[in-house]
Amino acid sequence: MNLLDIRNLSIELDTPNGRVLAVDKVSLSIKEGEFRGLVGESGSGKSLLAQAIIGVLNDKWHVHADRFHWRGIDLLRLTIDERRALLCRDIAMIFQEPMSCLDPTTLIGEQLSEAIDSSQLSGHFWQRKKQRKEAVVKLLHKVGIKKHSQCINSYPHQLTEAICQRVMIAIALAGRPILLIADEPTAAMESTNQGQIFRLLANLNQLKNMSILLISHDLENLTHWTSTITVMYSGQFVEAGSTEQIFNKPMHPYTRALVDSSTKANLQLPTKSRLMTLPGSIPILQHLPIGCRLGPRCPRAQQTCVEAPKVSNFHGHKVSCHFPLIRETAKKHSVKHEVVKGTI
């Protein structure tokens, strides 16, 4: 059964020049025990989608969806408070920028202990405090912080960014969530720490059967850990499928370019030649193209692309493109050649 099932979720932003459609009809579904990656350039609305799921966007943002189910419960029928109460119990989120997401005037230990639900504690009220503290120490050990007493008694500004991020992860794990949304959890870390964090997430996924939605812009790194991947571009759904499908047989020109732009794909390139990238950059919110938003940058764009394409499903591999790279997937080399020619 699908844990989370979202169809056609749109997010609009109020600006002085009217509403802007920041996220345009994105669908996302997560199964129980699934490790899903959400990939896209920065500014493609990944974090926005995550925050909309958990319901912490402020009044400026307006969220609509055709379907929004959580474990079979239709969330659209609930009020915002009921929805948040339900989701905050089952879903936890690791935010970007850990420093600004921790209260600067409260001790780390206090912030951690208030995230622990009192239903997890078994003893009488006079034993609660001790149990809470033990739970906090346990959580800190779990995320790889060894000096727990020092960490508990410090303020966020006294710790490094990487330790703050670990504390954020500990806070997210405190609620024993069913789904963990990790929004670039390793952005501020060096690669050894990154590996530790990813291994921790993979362990949780395998041993505790925790579903994880990992948001990242680094497709290559993501493929080591995830089982399925969803790709977004500029607030639009691009492609979704298993990691092998996305990485080995991308159907959307954007995913193709994303895979080709990784360093591994560029290994055969002669020195001092240009890397394979799409021309231009991601459009800003005020000047979004109509139809498929990749249009102006797409090597395969044609006149029909001014209308947004419908999502087509090829054996669980969903793609939103008028001209998907289907037939050519057998002859992979020729496709690559074609795309390269298109980009130069």
């Binding site: 925050q51 912490v56 936890a92 989120m93 209260d103 005037t105 409260t106 208030e114 303020y155 954020m168």
Partner: protein, 342 residues
């Protein structure tokens, strides 16, 4: 924390030096003889004048003169009042506590009313209650204090007869002078009518304190509203929401402390404003404080009293500034570190 304290103390020392320099130079700028302005002895004989010149070292260079003046102040000798010919330090010791009492009560009222109202406005941002509180703040800020004082006397004292219009306490009660702060003196006294005196003193202080508190309270409303709106938009509040905390938990555990930190800094600044309002209000309500005494000395051209009064009042305001700095540091862990240039 020790370096923080030392830093504040050295700041206090140097500011006091500059203040004495200003009050010293005032003696030269006021009309009349400098040494008479210093000492306030207008009826001095020739021999007394010679003694004074000797004491203030008027024949030496200006630096020695300043040193002599400083020694006089440090010994507690602020000169004599030109009008009453009694030592100014005695008068100040008698009057300053009354002003401290009045202004602190007013500050307390302003904070207790203003800050929660501002928080309520921020939580109901862009709703009817927000607009109502903001318009009240605009109105309160625009009313001049002398007019408000007269209106309050007219309405509450003369019209309704609820509260007395003048003085610190009814003349019926005899309270021994110990600290000068009325409420502490009453509690220390052995009088059998202690609690009657206490309630009488409270009814006397309500009206002037509320009149003084109105304008600072409206400023606190705006400050706390702005601070709270900023804090509520911060990402740690969003993270706390995602943690599953209820709205009340978020407000009381995270939002209020962070918003208060931003407000406390301004309390010290607003206090100077509040003391100015208190001076005017003391005249209207015949409150026997240093503000009324200072305004009377100005109208009587009592230069020595003006000089010393300014020195004492600014010293008091500065001490309150430092105290708010300490409260700020106690609330804000970021300020306690050894940051240079703060």
């Amino acid at each position: 924390m020790l370096t923080f304290t030392l830093r504040r103390l050295s700041l206090f020392l140097f500011t006091m030096l500059v203040l004495t320099l200003i009050s010293f130079s005032l003696s030269f700028l006021f009309p009349g003889d400098t040494v008479i302005n210093h000492s306030g002895q207008i009826n001095a004989t020739a021999t007394e004048l010679a003694q004074l010149n000797e004491a203030y070292q008027m024949d030496k260079s200006i630096f020695t003169q300043y040193g002599a003046y400083l020694t006089h102040i440090l010994n507690g000798d602020l000169g004599q009042s030109m009008a009453s010919q009694s030592p100014i330090s005695n008068e100040v010791l008698e009057l300053l506590p009354a002003t401290i009492e009045l202004s602190l009560v007013a500050l307390l009222i302003a904070m207790l009313v203003g800050i929660p109202l501002g928080f309520i406005a921020a939580i109901n941002h862009n709703k009817a209650s927000d607009n109502a509180i903001l318009s009240f703040a605009m109105l309160g800020y625009s009313i001049p204090v002398f007019w408000l004082g007269l209106l309050a006397i007219l309405f509450f004292s003369i019209g309704l007869g609820w509260l007395p219009s003048a003085g610190k306490i009814s003349l019926l009660f005899e309270i021994e002078f110990v600290t000068g702060i009325q409420f502490i003196d009453i509690l220390l006294s052995e009088s059998p009518y202690k609690w009657q005196a206490f309630s009488n003193a409270s009814s006397h202080i309500i009206l002037p304190a509320c009149v003084i508190a109105l304008a600072p309270a409206t400023i606190f409303i705006r400050l706390s509203r702005a601070a709270m709106i900023e804090v509520l938009a911060a990402s740690y509040i969003r993270a706390a929401k995602a943690k599953g905390l209820s709205f009340q938990q978020i407000i009381f555990r995270h939002a209020i402390r962070n918003a208060l930190i931003q407000i406390i800094r301004h309390v010290g600044l607003q206090f100077a404003n509040l003391v100015t309002l208190a001076m005017v209000t003391e005249v209207i309500f015949s409150w026997p404080g240093i503000g009324r005494w200072l305004i009377e000395s100005i109208s009587q051209r009592d230069y020595t009293a003006i000089q010393s009064g300014l020195l004492v009042l600014s010293c008091f305001i500065f001490i309150v500034h430092i105290l708010t700095d300490f409260i700020y540091a106690a609330l804000n862990p970021l300020a306690r570190g050894n940051h240079h240039g703060s």
